[in-house]
Symmetry: C2
Subunit: 515 residues, 2 copies
Amino acid sequence: MNKPTIKHALPVTREEDFAQWYQAVIAEAELAEESGVRGCMVIKPWGYGIWERIQKLMDEQIKAAGVENCYFPLFIPLSYFAKEADHVEGFAKEMAVVTHHRLIADPKGGLVPDPEAKLEEPLVVRPTSETVIGAAMARWVQSWRDLPLLTNQWANVVRWEMRTRMFLRTSEFLWQEGHTAHADEADAMAETLRALEMYRAFAEGPLALPVIAGPKPENERFPGAVATYSIEAMMQDGKALQAGTSHYLGTGFAEAAGIRYQDKEGQQTLCHTTSWGVSTRMIGGVIMTHGDDDGLRTPPQVAPQQIVILPMLRDNDGDAALLAYCETLRAELAKLSAFGERVRVLLDKRPGKATQKRWAWVKKGVPLILEIGGRDAEGGQVSVLRRDRLWNDAGKANFTGMAQGEFVAMASAELEDIERSLYTEARARRDAQIERGVSDLAGLSTYFAEDRKFPGWVEMQWSRPTGAALDRVVEQLKALKLTIRNTPLDAAPVDGTCPFTGEPAVERILVARAY
Amino acid sequence: MNKPTIKHALPVTREEDFAQWYQAVIAEAELAEESGVRGCMVIKPWGYGIWERIQKLMDEQIKAAGVENCYFPLFIPLSYFAKEADHVEGFAKEMAVVTHHRLIADPKGGLVPDPEAKLEEPLVVRPTSETVIGAAMARWVQSWRDLPLLTNQWANVVRWEMRTRMFLRTSEFLWQEGHTAHADEADAMAETLRALEMYRAFAEGPLALPVIAGPKPENERFPGAVATYSIEAMMQDGKALQAGTSHYLGTGFAEAAGIRYQDKEGQQTLCHTTSWGVSTRMIGGVIMTHGDDDGLRTPPQVAPQQIVILPMLRDNDGDAALLAYCETLRAELAKLSAFGERVRVLLDKRPGKATQKRWAWVKKGVPLILEIGGRDAEGGQVSVLRRDRLWNDAGKANFTGMAQGEFVAMASAELEDIERSLYTEARARRDAQIERGVSDLAGLSTYFAEDRKFPGWVEMQWSRPTGAALDRVVEQLKALKLTIRNTPLDAAPVDGTCPFTGEPAVERILVARAY
Ligand SMILES: [Zn+2]
Ligand SMILES: [Zn+2]
């Protein structure tokens, strides 16, 4: 059978240039754009709508776990960071620093920071809120009755990044940061793992992203954390994306912030704390997992619109009847539920050619597109396009005609099937790209050779070295541009030797290139 | 009849010291607290929960109007402000300015901004997003088909305030800012008034805040606006609070930002733009309108919890049956709807004395409190306290006993009645405090004399002077610490003479002290 030549909607394919393709999806799906402010993006309605859906669904999970949302200040005094050297040694040196609180006109007619309005103590724009939330927890926690203290914040944070990429690494990004304080290690660790499981289930459900959950190696921990867990997703170029993290912080942060409680025996005791977060980065993961050469395929639960109805208007007398038919259909569909929520359906009546509008929605990745012409309206028909099955064997847009009632009866199940299909496809691709037959450095080097396209991940056994021995491993991997992602919680038992130390292996790790 | 002495829950009453009382409500209802960062507050779960409710309900209205949410950068390059002198002449001089992007250790062991990491162009933390959104609109609007362009953003903004007061005036606050572009004045003005009416209905509905909507006088307009409309609410101390604004910006902002479209005849034409916003300030208005000497009375639609069930636990064998009874009751109530949404009900099982917990909820202002003892559970009874009718004639907490089924049957209506009662009470108080018998400056001076407590507002007629004549009026009012709030849209016709100019009056205005 001859494969027909398909004229794809994007100017560049994944195969041709994955990085360019990623930017093309963001532009053509109207997810975001450069703002003119270094490293900061404008998130456009379709991209922000996906974030709103992520927020809504995740926030329900957070609230269901008894966690309460708060809001903490954007600015953090410099002294808070000085107190906590760990933090600053880690990621937090590249930060936006506010030094003045007023502008004045300069002699050249422009504006400059007013030298008279220099702050006595500079303020840092929060890169994370550990320090201010720690200070609040120290005020709020008095007795064992106040524990566990479960807080979360949805906020913007800023980390001054030298190389930025939209959604994946931006100077400003949006996230949620959970911060909790507990009476003991067991309770704190249970919360750490609860958040991790919440993220895993969220990624594998509403985002249709297969992920592997597990602890990160010592060198990849959040600065000051006792244990850091992540969920790792494989992008279509084989690279790993850390899509969420959960940290058990021990008593170190509580000690720095003075978070103590009076226990039932009247003793002042340090709390054990956790923190956990996901960000707009998740949207980057969705793009690089579900996008294709025609744009994004938005998973139905996070799609701002799940079904779009496109009337094929002709600027003539028939339009009124066509629109009336479409409006009735819209109202029918809007009564349906999928995933336990009302179906989101849009009747797109904007001016413009129907085929142009179709391709705009294809690129945005709305799960189901209905095109309705005058004859469909007369015959009670609809013409249905599933975004995840866009092309037919003849290389044409894969529309299926059916009776309106038939479509209404199946629409909810169809949306749920699209989510399942996206997950299954991504899962099969990922599983096929995890190599388990590599057992030494030479093998790694060969597997990740520069001329190999989209190589995937290697799962290998190791002895979990620490300190200087771990540093050597990290250096060896770095030379191959590789990192250790995590130790899968559900990995098979070990039976081998560590290729780095020659000692008996104690666990399996994932080694990969990463975003 | 002797009035019983009531022991109120707050340490200070409104009568004793309104400003202190306001702070006491915020502290005792656990709405917010000082953060340790100048002018920035920590919004605690109950306060943030109210904001989440405001966001949810307002966002539904915004989306229903076809407005799409986006997200724009926190930072704005200095040059954007230099372009727009109007803005800077207005409110925007006091701004947080980012000048460095890295910290380094200083010789004394602290941290300082790295002199090597000075930004070439300082960045301003957004005081409002007019300029960046204008730049985006200039990119997004090409043809008449792109209009109207209706965008909104939920965000934090920063205005460096010298004197701050929680919720009312903080350096950082949370808000929404709608920004729209239109083909002509009529369409832009219709949007301006739509947003104003959305705010009026929102204030008078979910917030139970009576407000007066109308245009502000020329001197109170947003810098650069052609017309500014506000909703004005009267606080219990008689002062006015501007609770929301909507601006018709003419073509001035479009010209500065280059927002032009090709009209149907192919001509490049300037857009007419609008902007409109409400902020966390609304919560200050709710406190000062509905608070009493026992704390907040939270309007049911924005109360994070509408009904709290307090089991009177005794640490004995009876507790299990009592909790089971309360849980069944909770589940029954959670199935109810009020205001078109599920009722929010919490079973408060935390350790602690039931009366302490009762007063904590009274201070937070949960609309309905149920106390359930072992005997209530056995007899299928509940004991109900309506927060807006807290005290009985004997000066005791005004609990009413009734059968569980009876309460479940009436709970939704009761919540709706509480909202109505709060509104009616506030409306009657406000209407009684609008004085219409003052017709000259001497009268104003007498009415607002220093020894008069909580004087309310004066509605008077004037000739709407402009320019220097208006400046004189503003100065005369300023000497009495008064401002013109707005021209009520639904004011009575005029029939008099302007006390400021002696000319025939053309409209009525509200004159008041204000927050
Ligand atoms: Zn820290
Ligand atoms: Zn401006």
